[in-house]
């Protein structure tokens, strides 16, 4: 099959060379996994800018209530709710998932497993197109009468089900439709990832030779598929409540609001691992390369990833401790929630153990990866406070929760994204990013990030509740000390956002004017580094055969401190 495949590939390449693809075919309606990956990435980055802009607006309102926010305007109570709702929704569904899973999954998987594209390229294109429509529907929801939906990303009914309650009739339905379409897009995309990884691997690549990031993305996609089904059913039910007058979730018509909560969180909790695992994978790839060390306990990491994924299905009601569920049930979820910290701790310990005895280079991708470990550690341990049900009685819907999930989500989404981009940029665009600007961007992001969210633990401890536009109206929360904390957090955010311009400049400037990148600037083992930068259509001039795992760094007796997967044993 190998020779025949090669011959066909050459035939295909020759065919393409004669068939000049138009701009539309090459970049807009492409079926090439790399272009589709870029489409997801750029859409995700644009949505990140919108989500960040919304955070800027509502944090400015919190620091200086009632004042017009520069570059936004006045944030009244309705706008405030719309901003926080869509900030959360955008960051999870239109930034974290598309960038970490769809963009890097698409771009990396066929390259890393040694084949020429995803197994269903046209389905891949369709999934991006549906995703793009979902983003446009969401943006449309901001401009309809009544404005964008303001019932929080969790969209609890009856508020979300009845227009008379939420006062955003079409905003609420368009929001829900956008989320529904995004889910459909990812369900379709998932088909490609799993079948490609399972079936299209290069000869010689056993299950344990697959780079861990590919595993992680696949496990994430499986988790997503298994958890989102009930929510899709729930979304249909909520949409019917909104538009057709059913009462699935409206008590006056016989429905139950708590049912939505269960359906939502049954998805919502696995979802956080859906986004966590790919970043763990990205971090693993980076720390092995920049410490020149084999990944510590590949199998352990793999099994704990599966374990975390499995356990993630039985912790969901920790979001509902005070929601009106039977309090006896809460105890079960305390046990499962606190126990899920264990496989994750094991994974983190394994990553740290990978550094032991290494030869660590503090390149920018490595700084991001290490920054992830530090910040995610804070996020993870603060989750224990919230999993302790009795303590959650105090902290539910308080800023302690916000600080906790930003110390997990921000490292996952933002740090993970920058780690991946700075690491794979040379291969994606054929040029090196400016390292000095990269480092400035790293510190200018990492330090303000902590300045923004660390104080929010303190206001959470003071009992400050969520989704409130102006705390100066609450006597116990209006003290100048607490308000100073809010201002400090907002100023940190503004600084954080300003430093992103350094990245934007560096990204585009390097893309066109950066130093030409060598084939394998980081001296990594995985297959994507063997093809030209950027890789051609069809990826490999000669499809590789695999002889070893991806982490054979510093192998004793070998002169080079790395041993790419595709090199024959005598090479």
């Amino acid at each position: 099959m190998g020779q025949q495949a090669e011959a066909i590939l050459h035939e295909t390449e020759a065919h393409d060379a004669h068939h000049e693809m138009s701009f539309w075919d090459k970049y807009i309606f492409s079926v090439d996994h790399k272009i589709i990956g870029f489409q997801y990435m750029f859409t995700g980055l644009i949505m990140a800018a919108i989500g960040g802009y919304f955070a800027y607006a509502f944090r400015m309102q919190l620091a200086w209530p009632g004042e017009e926010v520069p570059f936004y305007g006045l944030v009244d109570a309705a706008k405030y709710n719309m901003l926080v709702t869509n900030h959360g929704t955008i960051m999870i569904f239109w930034v974290a998932m598309p960038v970490l899973i769809a963009a890097f999954g698409n771009w990396l998987i066929p390259l890393m497993i040694g084949c020429d594209d995803m197994v269903f390229p046209r389905l891949n294109r369709l999934s991006y197109q549906i995703f793009l429509v979902s983003a446009l529907v969401l943006i449309l929801s901001f401009f309809v009468t009544g404005g964008g939906f303001g019932g929080a990303w969790t969209s609890y009914p009856p508020l979300s089900a009845v227009a008379a309650y939420n006062l955003t009739n079409w905003g609420a339905s368009l929001w829900l439709l956008a989320v529904f379409l995004e889910i459909v897009a990812f369900l379709l995309g998932g088909i490609n990832f799993v079948t490609t990884t399972m079936n299209a691997r290069a000869p010689g690549m056993g299950m344990m030779d697959i780079p861990i990031v590919v595993w992680m993305i696949n496990i994430a996609v499986i988790l997503f598929m298994a958890s989102v089904g009930p929510l899709v059913a729930g979304a249909v039910m909520l949409f019917f409540d909104q538009r057709l007058g059913t009462s699935f979730f409206i008590p006056s018509g016989g429905g139950d609001p708590l049912l939505w909560e269960h359906l939502f969180w049954f998805f919502g909790h696995p979802e956080v691992y859906v986004v966590l695992l790919p970043t763990m994978g990205i971090v693993a790839e980076i720390i092995t390369v920049f410490s020149r060390k084999k990944l510590f306990g590949y199998r352990t990491i793999l099994y704990t990833a599966f374990g975390t994924g499995g356990l993630s299905f039985i912790v969901w009601a920790h979001h509902q401790f005070v929601a009106g569920i039977d309090p006896r049930m809460a105890n079960v979820f305390v046990v499962t929630t606190i126990l899920i910290s264990i496989p994750i701790a094991e994974m983190l310990f394994s990553f740290i153990a990978t550094l032991y005895g290494g030869s660590i280079e503090f390149s920018t991708p490595m700084l991001w990866a290490l920054g992830f470990l530090v910040s995610f550690l804070i996020g993870g341990v603060t989750g224990i406070y919230l999993g302790a049900s009795a303590l959650d009685v105090y902290f539910h819907d308080s800023y302690f929760v916000i600080a906790h999930f930003h110390y997990t989500f921000f490292p996952i989404t933002i740090i993970g994204m920058f780690a991946a981009i700075t690491y794979w940029f040379p291969k994606m665009f054929g040029r090196m990013m400016d390292e000095t600007l990269n480092k400035i961007h790293f510190w200018g992001t990492f330090i303000p990030f902590n300045g923004l969210f660390l104080p929010l633990f303190l206001v959470g401890m003071a009992g400050q509740h969520r989704r409130i536009a102006d705390f100066t109206q609450y006597p116990d929360l209006a003290s100048p000390d607490l308000q100073s904390i809010r201002i400090f957090a907002t100023v940190s955010l503004v600084i954080l956002l300003l430093f992103q311009f350094v990245f934007i400049y560096n990204f585009f400037n390097s893309m066109f004017k950066g130093k030409k990148a060598p084939l394998n600037p980081w001296k990594a083992n995985t297959l994507e580094w063997t093809v030209s930068s950027p890789p051609p259509h069809g990826n490999f001039a000669e499809l590789p055969t695999i002889y070893r795992g991806p982490y054979e760094y510093s192998v004793p007796g070998r002169e080079e401190d790395y041993w790419p997967q595709h090199l024959a044993p005598n090479q």
Binding site: A330, L339, S479
Partner: protein, 269 residues
């Protein structure tokens, strides 16, 4: 439980004004010590490795797969340690939870809180100690209770989900339309404390400010109830509105466990 351990972390921000607030603060302190321990060790190890194993000329990295038993123990033992601490912690958590949410101790009185878009209605029982009778006293955004009395609460909602939240008591509970949810609290410090709605309930969610006033004794409470019935009571909200939104005419330092605002109002009863 905070006779065993009291780091005063939460009370540096908010007084512990209910009988179970101390237990909940204890849990916070206990978890802080446990996770603090793991956090410090992990971070110290990470930083040590980052420094000790930084790239140096001529020094090659080691080749360790992490699959050998002797290597695995380095992650497994900390792993078992984490499990042990987790199990220890879970025991305390369940004990406190059962007390706060799974029991209803004998009560001196009952109050009903009804959330709606966008205010709270409170029903006090009046002299007969029973709800839904002629002498009930209804207030808006202004709940009155007596120190050291155990109260049962009944939570209802007229429209969407709200959440009955009193940070000083360390209490939060969602209210669900179509249901009555019961619970209890026992105030232990007199004063006036914020009562929040802690579940987003629409545009006016930010404006559902309410207060709970804990009277030092029955006499002060009865005087207030009489004044409310007579229409002569100036509620906390009237007073607050006279003060104006920003800036507030007082400062609070973190070392004080009672907010001076609460003390000022309590002294006026």
């Amino acid at each position: 439980m905070n006779e065993y351990l009291d780091l005063g972390l939460i009370t540096s921000f908010v007084p512990a004004a209910s009988s179970f607030a101390g237990d909940i603060d204890f849990l916070f302190d206990l978890i802080t010590i446990i996770v603090g321990f793991w956090f410090v060790i992990t971070l110290a190890t990470l930083f040590y490795f980052m420094i000790r194993f930084r790239r140096r000329e001529g020094v090659k990295a080691l080749y360790i797969s992490g699959e050998k038993h002797s290597e695995k123990v380095w992650t497994h033992y900390p792993h078992y340690g984490v499990i042990a601490f987790d199990v220890f912690l879970i025991g305390f958590v369940i004990v406190v939870w059962v007390n706060v949410k799974q029991t209803l101790p004998a009560n001196e009185d009952t109050i009903r809180a009804i959330g709606q878009q966008w205010s709270w209605s409170f029903v006090h029982t009046g002299a007969d100690g029973k709800l839904d009778t002629e002498d009930d006293v209804n207030t808006v955004n202004d709940l009155h209770v007596i120190k050291d009395n155990t109260y049962h609460f009944e939570l209802q909602s007229r429209d969407v989900l709200h959440n009955f939240a009193i940070p000083a008591f360390r209490l939060r509970q969602d209210t669900i339309p179509g249901r009555t949810i019961r619970g209890w609290f026992k105030p232990t410090i007199s004063g006036t404390f914020d009562l929040q709605c802690a579940e987003i309930c629409g545009r006016g969610h930010s404006m559902m400010f309410a207060a709970i006033t804990v009277h030092p004794d029955r006499k002060s409470y009865d005087e207030t109830m009489d004044a409310i019935r007579a229409g002569t009571y100036e509620s906390h909200f009237e007073k607050k509105r006279q003060l104006g939104p920003v800036p507030l005419p007082f400062t609070v330092s973190k070392s004080e466990t009672d907010s001076p605002y609460a003390i000022e109002l309590a002294q006026s009863f």
